[in-house]
């Protein structure tokens, strides 16, 4: 193998406080919440 990139990190980059057990459904739900309110883009995550 001829490496073109570094090896992957053993963990994913996340900010402190991110929910490490977050599953896909939760992620989708968050996305939908954002989408639903985005016509009032300001305050989507309030």
């Amino acid at each position: 193998m001829k490496k073109l990139t570094r090896d992957p990190t053993t963990d994913t980059d996340r900010s402190p406080g991110d929910d490490r057990s977050l599953d896909r459904q939760k992620a989708r739900k968050d996305a939908k919440c954002c989408a639903k309110t985005s016509k009032h883009a300001v305050g989507c995550h309030d």
Binding site: L4, T5, D7
Partner: protein, 454 residues
Amino acid sequence: MKPSAHNLFARVPGKEVWLIANPLYGTADLLSREEAAAYKARTFEDDGPWARRGYLVDPDEEAERFNAAYLAFLKEREQEELQLFYAPTYACELDCRYCYQDGYRAAEAAPPEVLASFFRYVDQTFGNRRKYLTLFGGEPLLKGDASRRTVARFLASAAKRGLETAVVTNGYRVSDYLDILRGARIREIQVTLDGLRAVHDARRPLKDGGGTFDRIVAGVDQLLAHDIPVNLRVVVDRENIDQLPKLAELAADRGWTAHAGFKTQIGRNYELHHCSRSPEALFDRLSLAAHLAALIEELPTFKAFHAPAFHFARHLGETGAMPAPVFDACPGAKTEWAFDYTGRIYSCTATVGKLDEALGTFHPEVRLDDDRVFEWQDRDVLAIDACRDCGARLVCGGGCGAVAKNRQGSLLAPDCRPVAEIGALGAPVYLPLDEGDDSKKNPPPPPTRGCSIK
């Protein structure tokens, strides 16, 4: 351990080299024939290089990484700069052979109140977001005082808010607008040249048949002379692909290529809303990429005029890293919106002006169809069933929503891209390949035929 669901694997055409990449793990490697055979035979060791490089994974760990990457993608998109298009008209003086808007009606100019309503809507809806505006059409730079007044008012209103404006124009009347453009906050002017004079004028003539090439070239000269950035677009198919090296030469001779404010894009002529008059002339994505790779192999200096992305290959070669995973390639109604002089709101430039695609209005009253907006905003590779088991999904991102809808009748359908194969075509252009065997070079795929628009 099992092979990652996100491995991209393809032979570099004409070479004894294979490319493997994984956008989720951010890795890419070149493989020998023996290594490629081992990969295809799935003869892996759990603690060997395949696992260290993220091509052989623990499915649970991969699922967790996928979720984290998805959240990171969503979070990053919330910070992305919005692009807000405004079409002051659908009229145009040109009769381009492949125009996708040729069935649009071009009504009289809008009253000034519509523009005021547009900026009020921008202030109220996108107030705190980073954004820039783009004048679109139709053709925004038309002949006459009424059009000049509209453009001047638009640019002044944008500047008052500290917003930059891009202009997508056929370039025919750039010179007539130079006085207005010089004093404005212009991000770039996109103009289109499809070849040297004879070819360009045959593809993009005036409605009366007259040529447009000379005025457009003069306009680009003038824009760059005033340090107004130019994005030169070339719309290509099999009938003008041979013009690319000639345009590169023209750009170099006129000093465009050397100007810091000059860049290019190659647009593929394709069927968006209706069938092409010359379907046999159209490239599919892979065949266009093959032609561009062959062109650069023959003429390496072409890259100074245009350096194709080949999906992830250019980024990989330039940075030594894979691009971040793309869970959604469609910006429509997310980071892109389009508005027109009738007061309607649309998802993007592919839908703007199609009445049945309107998502609402900003004039005379503000009204959005929440359900239709949600359809667009819901679309990503998790929502599209057909993307669920596709290894290419984190580069392809599900493709264009408007194309998917036109071809398959649903926004929640994919507009697939052969990303591994296109990435491999870009490998000789951007990646450090060892000398390989050129004797079995693959010819470009045959042309696509027939229309896929429903």
